[in-house]
Symmetry: C2
Subunit: 582 residues, 2 copies
């Protein structure tokens, strides 16, 4: 028997008991006549004391111990003379009687502490050691807890967890698939799912009514900071619902998690904001509404003052940073540098300081009078002591730059409190998005999203204006998930493929099974999918999803711990009738 | 709003309420002046009545309805004059006031009834229709319920659900991997996991203490009736445990499922049987112990009677089929044909009928006297009226043939009651298995299984005799799962690879990361994995796992519904630097 208790379990009421603990040596402190070991397991830390009462042999054993050795210790629970109130087991210690080294450890490549000395690469290579650290373990504990609570909620709402296949069919639409060569069907390939979208719709056709799955999805895209080639989705679908039914259901899920995981009760309904409003007011389809600082459109009132930057701009807009009127030259220059960064790409920044005496100081003083600036300030609700920041240029581009500037100011002003949560539904997304490269529309979400009935006539005249029954859940500026009411009519689905530039043959070859299914009594249905990694990461207060994933890949898609991907035997390729191109 | 209630919900207390239901038309019965519709959804059936009170327009609509149309019906709940006690909603019906056809249906390719007229292939092609049938839906409901209960039990036992990666590294050991070409790392491949074995062991090294996952696994093997290229495993691992701890834990899991899913309380501990005993008594490492009929070894007492079949046999063994002494010539011939089938491959069958008068009638009467046969009967505990069946030949082969014969007799005698469950731990498996083709040993389970300490000395003299700390859970002759206490010492793991014929380089290249991990304080650990598909299928009383999988593949690994695998664009292959061999 390796243990009677865990290292997080013993309390004052256990004093006098003989116990067995197993765990890792977190540290050894030698204080002259006494030695203290800290023993660690997943559940906590327990102090072991070696003193005059300890058998001589054991004392010698202790001298050989190093950090991260795995040991089994038998001893008596003793009340500590100096208690440690910061430790749940801080009232007691174990007087060691017997020690067995279960396994030795070489000196770890980095320290197993909350703050470690290991760099990113080293920690990834020895991920199994990194996972021993408290903060990383806590992230995975949170992930486990959230997974169980999500299931509990959805099961309670009659959702059935149904596994959909991982070996499916490749479709050229959307992101790039990972493909899997078939040995039994030579020259043919499976694809790993980017999402179970078509399968969950088929389950609705099957009458399952409410489906969910917490499921891995795969995208072979070039990786950015917050992307992984494999990621986890909370995938859901419901029948006989309209948009409000879906939003209510998943607002319920979010509220359940807020409550049981974060201890937060959100009483109000989540606000809903049309996509067009989100773009006008925040320049983003995932606005962070923890703070206000909405855009004000100044285009109409700034023209005609010989300031060519504004006069030639499609859009001029500003934000008001409260109480930043005292920003220094250096601070303002930094902001200008910020908006000029290539990934933001504004040409420059116009500022207006609202002085305490009611006067204004602007970088565009040459072109605008105090009266002019006063009109701006009034329009923007700027008060004495505030700072107005204005960008101008092509509209979509400028809205985006202003959004980045807004988020930066939010950061600088400490408005992005990680303990505050501001959920928001963004609704009424456009159905189609113009693809300038290929000179055609493609689906903003996916080709199964239904258009709003009242917009269908626009397909012929202004397809870009057709709105979809689509919605995203945004929390603190993070897109947690989204979904739509789907098309369930085979004719409409065929039309949709036509609008997306599919030939009839292409549509049939790729999605024929779904359109066939729609001919046999498909119910109205809709659903949503949420990024599980992102949601956990948001609740953990992290900026990246990597630390909520046990074994993540790096930005080249490599697992540096197991050294994968790797070359395979030619025999394996032969069996698949494949050859590497040189 | 599509519905106020589901089709399984309305009872006598709802009478008088106006309700809205949505669902599928299961059937239309026209009884002269009245028409009855049966409306179906996942939750049940509700009868809709169209009579003199029904608006004329609605009557016309009803004439257009066909099977599997999706409709929304508004109406009043009425008490039925002739109630149907077999239907949960059988006390009421809905007097229809308004009907909306939500979607039409073409005539389904087969009937959506418990017993359908559709053949296997047709049902697979239109799987989304097959899934509408009660028995198939019930299987997936059972699967959902079991999944939730497994999680509930393991979560309650402090197991953490941790997702391990799907894109891992190919290893030539074991079954064939599915491989996934990497675009970002040209010429290299990921592999899909056959199981998360090494990752769960790394999680133990990380100190997670108790891990589980319900996870898809992949094997590119030629498919048999009960195999799928992707299947689902309940994967578990624990630290600081010995074999009994693991068996107790998962006996607890099995008992939880027996209780909450099947309503069965198993009070006794599951029996444990060494592998060697299972082979001697049942000729199988997964004996069905719902019935007895153990083998009796007759080798010693049948030799020397000039019956060359027995005299030259390595093994002669028999079973006693109670009360089958009256089997006819025809029945006995059929049994002989059965054991002679190529997949069983016995050369013949010797029978002994124990007549009611105390005499014996045997197919080997020429060689054995009544006295001889009496000795057999006594040894086998055969009584008047019983039938003794004897096979002879090479031992392993004959044990296997006798096992098949035993199962066949169990079937014929109705001893395989699907409502009876007889769990069994088979323990003390051999560590190694001789591979005659490659003239080397390979691991019977996998190379991480620990040998029994007391057998380690046999590695040098008789490696085939080394027993492992390995165990299987068998229920009713189905191997539900198994596991082992793992090696956690890097030296022993290296030795093990040596015994398995790995060179040091091979071992390092394939499993270096694991042996590295063992150098940094790996705890003693062990675990198990259970076939989720099989377990559900056993509880559902099915012989195949296919009907507990929403979208299974056929025996050629094809999904005939979506027509996958399929050819991919050359562009896709180009991006991966791959070429098809002609």
């Amino acid at each position: 028997m390796y243990r009677t208790h865990t290292c997080g379990e013993l309390r004052i009421e256990h004093v006098g008991q003989e116990v067995v603990l197993s765990g890792w040596i977190q540290g050894v402190r030698n204080l002259g006549g006494m030695t203290f070991l800290t023993l660690r397991d997943r559940y906590g830390l327990t102090q072991i004391v070696i003193d005059d009462n300890t058998p001589e042999e054991l004392k010698k054993q202790v001298e050989e111990l190093g950090r991260e050795f795995v040991v089994k210790i038998t001893g008596e629970v003793i009340e500590r003379s100096s208690k440690n109130s910061k430790m749940p087991t801080g009232d007691i210690e174990i007087g060691a009687k017997e020690l067995v080294v279960l396994n030795k450890s070489e000196i770890p490549p980095f320290t197993i502490e909350d703050e470690t000395d290991g760099g990113d690469e080293l920690r990834m290579k020895y991920r199994y050691m990194d996972l021993r650290r408290n903060p990383v373990r806590k992230n995975l504990e949170l992930r486990h807890r959230m997974g169980q609570e999500i299931r509990k909620y959805l099961d309670g709402e009659m959702f059935m967890e149904i596994e959909t296949p991982y070996l499916i069919k490749s479709t050229p639409e959307g992101a790039r698939d990972f493909i899997v060569p078939s040995r039994m069907n030579q020259g043919e390939f499976y694809a790993l799912p980017q999402s179970p979208q078509t399968f969950k719709q088929l389950l609705m056709v099957s009458g399952f009514d409410r489906y969910f799955q917490i499921v891995k999805c795969f995208r072979d895209e070039d990786l950015r900071a917050d992307r992984q080639p494999e990621f986890t989705q909370i995938d859901c679908e419901m029948s006989f619902v309209d948009q409000d039914d879906v939003l209510n259901m998943f607002e319920g899920l979010a509220n359940h998690l807020f409550k049981v995981i974060k201890g937060i009760e959100i009483k109000e309904k989540f606000p809903q904001m049309p996509y067009s409003e989100a773009m006008e007011k925040y320049g983003s389809d995932k606005p962070d509404i923890r703070f206000d600082m909405q855009f004000v459109n100044l285009t109409d009132i700034v023209k005609g003052n010989n300031f060519v930057v504004f006069d030639t701009a499609e859009y001029v807009g500003g934000i008001c940073a409260q109480a930043c009127g005292n920003y220094t030259r250096k601070q303002l220059d930094k902001l200008t540098d910020f908006v000029r960064k290539p990934q933001i790409g504004a040409r420059g920044l116009v500022y207006v300081k609202c002085n305490e005496d009611g006067s204004f100081k602007s970088s565009a003083d040459k072109f605008f009078s105090q009266e002019d600036l006063k009109v701006w300030a009034e329009k923007m609700n700027a008060k004495a002591g505030d700072l107005i920041l204005v960008l101008a240029g092509e509209k979509a581009h400028t809205l985006n730059a202003l959004s980045e500037l807004r988020l930066e100011m939010g950061e600088q002003l400490g408005l992005k409190d990680k303990n505050k949560f501001a959920p928001l539904w963004v609704v009424d997304f456009p159905l189609l998005e113009w693809d300038e490269d290929n000179k055609r529309f493609h689906a903003m979400h996916h080709p199964f999203t239904s258009p709003k009935a009242e917009d269908i006539h626009l397909f012929e005249t202004d397809p870009g204006k057709v709105r979809a029954n689509a919605y995203d859940l945004v929390i603190n500026g993070v897109e947690i998930g989204g979904g739509s009411i789907r098309i369930h009519d085979d004719k409409l689905q065929q039309d949709m493929f036509k609008h997306l530039g599919f030939s009839e043959e292409e549509a049939k070859e790729q999605f024929g099974f779904l359109m066939d299914a729609f001919k046999y009594g498909a119910p109205p249905h809709g659903g949503a999918a949420f990024g599980f990694d992102r949601w956990v990461s948001l609740f953990a207060g992290l900026d990246s999803i990597r630390d909520v994933i046990a074994f993540p890949k790096n930005n080249s898609g490599r697992d540096v711990m197991i050294d994968s991907p790797s070359a395979v035997d030619n025999k394996q390729l032969d069996e698949l009738s494949l050859k590497l191109k040189k």
